[in-house]
C-alpha cells in the first residue's frame, strides 16, 4: 500500500458544489420564468383497468431540450409518452403543445413523431420508402421528398442503403432508419421509446453520443423514455425520475445524481450507501445524525429528532489503512470482497456483521496487485459536503 496514494485520496478537496453539465451548462430555459414550454403536462393521470399507470404528472418540456423519462419498467413512463403521441388518452389533466390542448387531436394530426422501441419499420417498404412515409403523408412534392430522403440517408450514414429492405440491415442500421423516418417530417418533438434497448453495449455507448450530437445539430426537441440510468445521464439535459406513475424528481443529470430528492432516486441512479439515524443537530446548512453505524455530518437540513438518512456515493468515500483521527463520518471495517471492473474497483467493506459499505476507487495506475485484499482492516471517511441528507 502506497501511503502517498492514500493521502492523495483522503486529502482530495471536496467539490465546492456539485459538478454539472459542461458545454450544455448554459442551456436552462426551465429556470427562466418567462420561457414558454413546448410541451406541458398538467395533472395528467391515466389508469388501465383500474390500475393507475400515471398519477397527477405536472412537467414542462422546453424547445430544444433533450428530456429523459427515467424509471423502472411499469413506472408509467411509456404511458406518459404514448399520451403525448396520442395513442393513449389521459383520464384527467391536460397535455399542452405550444400552449394548445391537444386532447382532441388523433395521433396522425400531432406534429409529434415517435421512434418505436422495436423500430416498427415497415417490412414491405424499402429504407427510402420507410423514411419517405411521413413526408408523403404531408403531401410534399415528389422532388422534395426525394431530396429530404437523400439528406436523411446521408445524415444517418445510410448512403446506398435506400433500396434495401429493413430485414437486410443490421440492428444498428435499422435503428438509424427508424430515427431517420421519425425526424424526416421535422416533428415539433421527437419521442424515443427505449431507442437503444436492442443494441449491444458498445454500439449503445456510441449511439448515445451520436444521438446527443444529432439533437444539438438539428435543434430539435427530444424526449426519451429509458430504464437505463447511464443512458439518461449521458444524453439528457434534464431527467425526470418516475416511480409508480409519479415524477419523483426533475433535474439535470448532475442534480439528480448529487442531490437526489429521496432514497429512491439516490438508489435508482447510481449506487449509494445509506446510514440511518436521528437528526441531532441541524444548523447553517449542515446536519448531524446519530445512528447505529456512528455519527455523521452532511450538507443539508433536517428536522431535529426525526429519522433521516445520510447518503454517500461509493466514489466519494475515502479508504485508509491507518486509523484517522476520531470524528464524524468515520467508519471502521474489513474488506469483505471486491470487484475489479478495469476502470474502477468496487470494494465491499463490512462495518458491522452483515452491514456492507460500497466503496469505489478509480484504477489510475496499471498496478495489477491490488493495494487492498479481503480481510484487510480499513477505515472509511467522507467529507460532509460529499454526502447528502435524505429525509424520505
Amino acid at each position: 500500500m502506497d501511503p502517498g496514494a492514500d493521502r492523495a485520496l483522503s486529502e482530495r478537496p471536496p467539490p465546492a458544489r456539485p459538478q454539472i453539465g459542461g458545454v450544455r451548462d448554459t442551456f436552462a430555459p426551465w429556470e427562466d420564468p418567462a420561457a414558454r414550454p413546448l410541451v406541458r403536462f398538467e395533472g395528467v393521470s391515466k389508469a388501465f383497468a383500474g390500475a393507475p399507470a400515471v398519477r397527477g404528472v405536472d412537467v414542462s418540456i422546453y424547445e430544444r431540450e433533450f428530456f429523459a423519462l427515467l424509471g423502472p419498467s411499469g413506472c408509467g413512463k411509456t404511458t406518459l409518452m404514448r399520451m403525448l403521441a396520442g395513442f393513449e388518452t389521459p383520464d384527467a389533466g391536460r397535455i399542452l403543445l405550444e400552449g394548445r390542448d391537444i386532447a382532441a387531436d388523433p395521433p396522425h394530426r400531432r406534429p409529434v413523431h415517435m421512434m418505436f422501441q422495436a423500430y416498427a419499420l415497415f417490412p414491405h417498404l424499402s429504407v427510402a420508402r420507410n423514411i419517405a412515409f411521413g413526408l408523403r403523408r404531408q403531401g410534399l412534392p415528389r422532388r422534395e421528398i426525394a431530396a429530404r430522403v437523400e439528406e436523411m440517408l446521408a445524415l444517418m450514414k445510410l448512403e446506398g442503403l435506400g433500396g434495401r429492405r429493413p430485414d437486410q440491415l443490421s440492428g444498428g442500421q435499422q435503428q438509424r432508419v427508424a430515427l431517420a423516418r421519425a425526424i424526416a417530417p421535422r416533428p415539433r418533438i421527437l419521442l424515443l421509446d427505449e431507442p437503444m434497448a436492442a443494441l449491444d453495449k458498445k454500439l449503445r455507448d456510441e449511439t448515445q453520443f451520436e444521438l446527443m450530437t444529432l439533437q444539438q445539430s438539428l435543434g430539435m426537441t427530444f424526449m426519451i423514455v429509458t430504464h437505463d440510468q447511464d443512458e439518461a445521464m449521458v444524453v439528457a439535459d434534464r431527467i425526470a425520475v418516475m416511480r409508480e406513475g409519479e415524477i419523483v424528481q426533475v433535474g439535470r443529470p448532475g442534480e439528480v445524481y448529487e442531490a437526489p430528492a429521496d432514497r429512491y432516486v439516490a438508489g435508482f441512479i447510481g449506487d449509494v450507501n445509506l446510514f440511518e439515524g436521528r437528526v441531532a443537530h441541524s444548523e447553517g446548512g449542515r446536519v448531524r445524525l446519530a445512528g447505529p453505524d456512528g455519527t455523521f455530518e452532511a450538507d443539508g437540513a433536517g428536522p431535529v429528532g426525526e429519522t433521516a438518512w445520510i447518503g454517500v456515493r461509493p466514489e466519494k468515500v475515502a479508504v485508509h489503512t491507518e486509523p484517522p483521527p476520531p470524528g464524524p463520518n468515520v467508519l471502521a471495517g474489513r474488506v469483505h470482497d471486491y470487484g475489479y471492473l478495469g476502470d474502477w474497483t468496487t470494494y465491499l467493506v463490512e462495518i458491522a456483521p452483515g452491514r456492507l459499505v460500497r466503496v469505489a476507487r478509480a484504477n489510475t495506475t496499471r498496478t495489477v496487485e491490488r493495494p487492498l485484499g479481503c480481510g484487510d482492516a480499513v477505515w472509511l471517511t467522507f467529507a460532509p459536503s460529499s454526502a447528502v441528507v435524505l429525509t424520505r
Binding site: 396520442g86 396522425h108 415517435m114 415497415f122 403523408r137
Partner: protein, 295 residues
C-alpha cells in the same frame, strides 16, 4: 444404438407421397392413355404378364393420346373446363371480399374473444359436409326457408336452387373457413406498432390500413385464395347438389364419365387436364408457403 435416424424421417414423407400420390397418379395417367373396352375393368390394353417383356412392349405400343384428342373435339369438355375455372375464380373473389373483413374483425378483437370467434369459424366442420350442403337445398328450394323469409318481408320469391348462383353460394359457404383462417393468421400476428407508426407519421386510420395492414396481409390472402381456388375448381358435391344441369363443372364431368358412361379413360384424361391446370396455382401456393416459413 447410436445410428442417426434423421435420414429415415426424411424418407417417410417421400414414401408417403410415392405410395399415395405418385403411384395413383401414374395409374390415372396410364388409364387416360388407354381405350374404352367392353370388359371388366372397362379399358384396354392390359399388360399380359404371361408374354413377359413382349407383353409389356405390346402394352406400351397400344397406349395413345386418342382420348385427349376426343376431349378437344367435344365442346362439352372445353365448356366445363372454362366454366369450372370461372366459377372457382368468382367464388375465390367472393370469398376474399367476405373473408377479409371477417378475419380482420377477429384479429382486432380482444385475445379471449378471438379464440372464441376462430372456434366459431371452424365450428361448421363438426357437422358433416354433405349434411350442410343438403341443408342449403332446404333453404333454397322454391318453398324453402329463404322464400318463406322473403315472403314474410313482403318480397317476391326467388328460384335460385339448381342455378350457378346456388353453386356459388354453397362454395362460398363451404370454403369460407379456408379463406378466413390463413388471413386471420397473418393479420393476427401483425405487429400493432406498425399501425401506430403509420398513424404517428401522419397516416389516417384508413390510410394506415391500405398502406401497412393490407400489403402485409397479401401472403395470407394468396394462401387463402389458392387454398380455396384449387379444390373449388374440381368440386363435385356442391355443383351436383345445388347446381342445375346447365352448371357444367369438371368434377361432375369426371363423375359422369366414370360412373354413368363407364368411360374410365375419358374420366382420367379430364382429371389429368384439371391437375395440369391446377399445377400452376399449386406451385405458386407452395412458393408462397415456403416464403412464409422462411420469413
Amino acid at each position: 444404438m447410436r445410428r442417426d435416424r434423421s435420414g429415415l424421417a426424411a424418407i417417410l414423407p417421400f414414401l408417403w407421397l410415392a405410395l399415395f400420390f405418385a403411384f395413383p397418379f401414374l395409374l390415372v395417367a396410364k388409364l387416360s392413355l388407354s381405350d374404352t373396352a367392353l370388359a371388366m375393368p372397362p379399358y384396354a390394353p392390359r399388360i399380359d404378364w404371361s408374354q413377359g417383356l413382349a407383353g409389356l412392349k405390346a402394352f406400351f405400343a397400344a397406349l395413345d393420346g386418342e382420348t385427349y384428342a376426343r376431349l378437344t373435339r367435344d365442346r362439352l369438355y372445353l365448356d366445363a373446363y372454362l366454366s369450372s375455372l370461372r366459377i372457382a375464380a368468382t367464388g375465390t373473389g367472393l370469398l376474399l371480399l367476405i373473408g377479409y373483413p371477417i378475419a380482420y374483425g377477429i384479429s382486432r378483437c380482444p385475445p379471449a374473444m378471438r379464440q372464441a370467434l376462430v372456434m366459431a369459424v371452424i365450428l361448421p366442420f363438426w357437422t358433416s359436409f354433405l349434411i350442410r350442403i343438403y341443408a342449403w337445398i332446404a333453404i333454397l328450394k322454391p318453398a324453402g326457408l329463404l322464400n318463406a323469409a322473403l315472403g314474410a318481408l313482403g318480397l317476391p320469391p326467388v328460384d335460385i336452387l339448381n342455378t350457378e348462383t346456388a353453386v356459388l353460394l354453397g362454395l362460398v359457404y363451404a370454403y369460407l373457413p379456408f379463406m378466413v383462417l390463413p388471413l386471420y393468421a397473418v393479420l393476427e400476428k401483425q405487429d400493432e406498432s406498425l399501425i401506430e407508426a403509420a398513424q404517428d407519421l401522419g397516416a389516417t386510420p384508413l390510410s394506415a390500413f391500405w398502406r401497412v395492414t393490407f400489403p402485409l396481409s397479401i401472403p395470407g390472402a394468396a394462401a387463402g385464395a389458392l387454398l380455396c381456388f384449387i379444390p373449388m375448381a374440381g368440386e363435385f358435391v356442391i355443383p351436383d347438389l345445388l347446381g342445375g344441369s346447365e352448371t357444367l363443372m369438371l368434377g361432375r364431368v369426371i363423375w359422369t364419365e366414370f360412373f354413368a358412361n363407364r368411360d374410365w379413360p375419358a374420366a382420367s384424361a379430364v382429371a389429368i387436364v384439371l391437375l395440369a391446370t391446377l399445377v400452376v396455382p399449386i406451385l405458386l401456393f407452395e412458393r408462397q408457403q415456403a416464403k412464409v416459413l422462411r420469413g
